[in-house]
Symmetry: C2
DNA sequence: TTCCGAATTTGATCTGGGTCAATGCCCTTC
DNA sequence: GAAGGGCATTGACCCAGATCAAATTCGGAA
């Protein structure tokens, strides 16, 4: 049974969670194999390959699987964990944004995530957080408390999770630096360089980006307005540093120049 | 041998690291006891109480101890990990700031830390990071790679570290929200409320803060200038929300009003 | 207790990026 | 392939907070 077929189940699928189990039939048979076969067990499988150690016992493996709630998230739709506590989310496929709602009409995008990435969604606190799909997504979500209870004696799982969290923290700190001490032009350059590293594709020696997020998303991520984002991109275009293709395509002609404009620490410092 | 005595050793102590071991003589005898006795083993002891599981074997305990580099850091002095990789730092006593150097004269304070807190210092990347003492400090530092190698099969240690990292991430995200979408007045209110939670002391029903950081530190943390910080504090004083005592004392007369000004999500939303 | 230098506060002015307002252009849908 | 609607761009103007410049005050040292 493929996700596609499952979708046909109708209401079960929708916006809501659904145990990943229904995607899974012969999981153990596939587990641990290299290469991502498109199999019924694929979503949890991919998660397991990335986060669970290869030598995990079947019993524990299935317990984790039972905790996973899979959801198919159509573009622009969002998961709201209001009421629930901290979550651990895996992006099986697609791209998402983690949005903090500061107040009416003031959203801050805390981070973007792409296929294969794991991240933590804070429980509600001073702000409420939600995860939105930048394009159609497949997502696995775990209640963090339940997940950690199960993982509490699995050093391998904790280690992977720690590494992922530390990476998120580093990215968040870099964003802090950008928002606290950089000009609009520098922020845009930082953004483009960062996206180039994460989703850039090389074509004819030039880096090509297909940005899944809108100008509003970019501005909500960088603490700017859409107008400023647009103006800065136009400036880069006028300067020949980038070319734009339609609404989402960006070609980076001069990555070095972009790095200079990003205001990073000089290498030779 | 107390830290105080050790300091008398002179050059060994200074700004440099020094194996924590020299602080330690009868560590095993004290380990696991409740209550923080001031003992020779105190620094590593405190760290162990917070991060290492109580049932850790002595062998492993001592291996961790051998990795610890203790340092006494005088106010305004800083540890520079340039060259070294990611670090795990424990603030035994005092208060520190984690500073990212964006470029000449543009520093961003990424986080403040107080006694008893553990945090990660990123390895050099697009920016270089350093840890500075807001007041005289005792600090333990571990090379992160070495620490994790040793901890890789110690689920208890990893679990604590993960919790600490997740907390840092949550704080960093809240800072992101503040820097991306809040006005100067809101940022100051957020800062004061946050400090109240971490180092506030209740006196006669009012919260009293003794801020260890200067106006420059506050401005470098909030992405503002010292002048703006000063003006916003004056405004709060004029409005009767706070009183200031000398350069570092702040009395919060109306925590609720501060919360309102912080632009947090309305509870009743 | 006085004194000095640095930290802070306060004031005046300037500006990067926000806001408001059209206009233009993708891209979807029919 | 024409049309419509939202997204993006561009322009004019404004303002929160930066910058520049004193004046004031704190708190350590003598």
């Amino acid at each position: 049974m493929r996700p596609r077929d499952v979708a046909a189940l109708g209401w079960l699928w929708r916006e809501n969670f659904l145990p990943a189990l229904i995607w899974v039939k012969e999981a153990p048979a596939y587990r641990g194999e290299g290469g991502f076969m498109i199999t019924p067990a694929e979503p949890f499988q991919r998660f397991a390959n990335r986060i669970l150690p290869a030598n995990l016992s079947d019993t524990v493996y299935f317990r984790f699987q039972a905790l996973a709630r899979a959801s198919r998230l159509a573009k622009a739709h969002s998961l709201d964990f209001a009421g629930a506590g901290q979550q651990i989310v895996f992006v099986v496929d697609g791209a998402t944004k983690l949005v903090a709602h500061a107040s009416e009409s003031r959203d801050q995008i805390v981070a973007f995530q792409f296929a294969g990435e794991v991240f933590t969604v804070p429980g509600p606190d001073n702000y409420s957080y939600s995860v939105s799909a930048l394009k159609d997504c497949d997502i696995l979500a775990f209640d963090s408390a339940e997940f950690l209870r199960l993982a509490s004696s699995e050093a391998g799982v904790l280690h992977h999770l720690l590494e992922n969290t530390t990476l998120s923290l580093r990215r968040c700190r870099e964003k802090t630096i950008a928002l606290g001490r950089k000009t609009a032009g520098e922020r845009i350059a930082v953004f483009l360089v960062g996206m180039a590293e994460r989703i850039g594709v090389e074509q004819d020696g030039r880096l090509v980006l297909e940005l899944p997020m809108s100008r509003r998303d970019i501005s909500d991520s960088l603490g700017l307005t859409i107008e400023t984002v647009s103006r800065q991109l136009s400036k880069l275009r006028d300067d020949g540093v980038i070319e734009t293709v339609g609404r989402s395509g960006v070609i980076l002609n001069a990555l070095e120049s972009l790095r200079d404009r990003a205001g990073f620490l000089r290498e030779a410092a």
